[in-house]
């Protein structure tokens, strides 16, 4: 008789993790799903900003997957100093952008191990597929993640399990290895066929790519924050507030001392209003325009430049002069400036 077991499934709600969840649950194993909140999820940020550009609001895919399969789910917030320190100092380095995928997976698996032990579960499983991602899903890096997280033999990848050494739950008979899969590579044909077979009709498109850290434009802003702090003689580190601001507005590096963030929508303007403390708030006074924040210690010339850029994104962009209000704590100044029309200059400052 098969031994009854309990597992912790790390799910994003993407096709692979949904299938992994279905496969493990389909073996009669008690499953608790866990979704880690990092602060860098593109879908969550879209929801905060009121939805996608086409007006639709993306659903929370991890919740959707857990609901479809009637599996209990827990959200675990891992964003914080420990996670940020890992992002800034990754032991296994970055991928193409600001994505330290191997370190991030190790960080998550260590947290998952704590949950596994607290829940009295036998193993962890994920939707990882051998060879699907160039950095974090190679055979060697899958092994690094397992070893460094302290999950030796307790980390099951159901979609690729038969291409990997048997795990402890397979050896103990908790999991039937014969009912696991041998999928590898970037193709999704087999996953889609399996989804149809299991009656899973919903999953987000496109696959993966929900992390801002893999985004080139976001990555530039991420490293700019670290580089600017270092240039000012400050520790090279990331703060919680940075995470929100990095995904909000147009960013311009005025100098190593000062950065300008200009809201692109009403929702972004409202978000920026929550981060005025410790920054200058800049907005055109007599015409409609964006809310902008200036971080750091700008020179008088940089204040003028920031005011001109803010003026160019408002209704006064074609006016000869625009009055821009600069608020910094109790200090309120106004600058009458010509909106900046030098595209090359603006682009050179854009991060």
């Amino acid at each position: 008789m098969k031994k009854q077991g309990k597992a912790i499934g790390l799910i994003s709600g993407g096709l692979d993790s949904t299938l992994a969840l279905a496969l493990v649950r389909g073996q009669g194993i008690e499953v608790k799903a866990v979704n880690f909140y990092t602060g860098f999820c593109i879908t969550e940020t879209q929801r905060r900003k009121g939805g996608r550009p086409d007006g639709t609001v993306p659903q929370n895919e991890a919740l959707r997957a857990a609901a479809d399969l009637e599996v209990e789910i827990e959200y675990v917030d891992i964003s914080g100093p420990g996670y940020f320190d890992m992002l800034v100092n990754p032991r296994w380095g970055y991928g193409a952008n600001a994505n330290p995928c191997v370190d991030c997976r190790v960080f998550m698996m260590r947290k998952a191990k704590e949950i596994m032990e607290a829940e009295g579960a036998d193993f962890i499983f994920t939707g990882e597929v051998l060879g699907q991602r160039p950095k974090s899903q190679r055979r060697d890096t899958l092994r690094i993640i397992e070893r460094e997280s302290g999950l030796d033999g307790r980390l099951l990848r159901p979609l690729s399990a038969r291409l990997l050494p048997p795990t402890i739950p397979e050896q103990e008979g908790i999991v039937d290895r014969e009912r696991l899969l041998d999928i590898s590579g970037r193709g999704r044909t087999r996953q889609m066929a399996l989804a149809e077979e299991l009656g899973i009709s919903e999953w987000p498109q496109p696959a993966g790519g929900c992390c801002y850290l893999t985004d080139e434009a976001f990555s530039r802003k991420f490293f700019d924050v670290l580089d600017a702090r270092e240039a000012r003689g400050e520790p090279r580190k990331l703060e919680r507030e940075d995470v929100v601001l990095l995904s909000t507005g147009r960013h311009f590096r005025l100098s190593p001392r000062a950065k300008l963030i200009v809201g692109r929508t009403e929702v972004e303007n409202a978000l920026l209003e929550h981060h005025v403390e410790g920054r200058a708030r800049v907005e055109a006074r007599d015409v409609l325009g964006p809310v902008a924040l200036v971080e750091g210690v700008p020179t008088w010339e940089e204040r003028q430049l920031a005011a001109r850029i803010v003026a160019r994104y408002g209704k006064g962009k074609d006016a000869g002069r625009v009055v821009v209000e600069w608020r910094e704590g109790d200090l309120v100044e106004t600058y009458e400036v010509e909106p900046e029309h030098d595209e090359a200059r603006v682009e050179a400052m854009r991060i």
Binding site: N35, R47, R48, Q59, N60, L63, A67, E72, Y75
Partner: protein, 84 residues
């Protein structure tokens, strides 16, 4: 009669106003955990995502979603904790 008035009296009210996805659900999960089986929780949220999230969370955790209603700029969601 307003739709919210047809809901059972909550044993506890959780105000998540200003908190964004997924924290209203995270806080709901913590609150429900501390309640007695059968008790009703009222969750107030300003994140419109609650209207999508709460029914799904209830289905996943087998708690009973009694209803989610928009009330001005906020949403009110009623959840009954599952019986053991």
């Amino acid at each position: 009669m307003a739709l919210t008035e047809r809901m059972p009296a909550p044993a506890r009210t959780l105000d998540t106003s200003g908190r964004l996805c997924p924290f209203p659900i995270v806080e709901t999960a913590k609150a429900v955990k501390a309640m007695d089986a059968g008790a009703v929780l009222l969750v107030i949220a300003t994140d419109p995502g609650i209207a999508l999230d709460m029914p799904m969370w209830c289905k996943a955790t087998r708690n009973e979603h009694l209803g989610t209603f928009q009330d001005g700029a906020a949403w009110k969601s009623f959840v009954r904790k599952r019986a053991r």
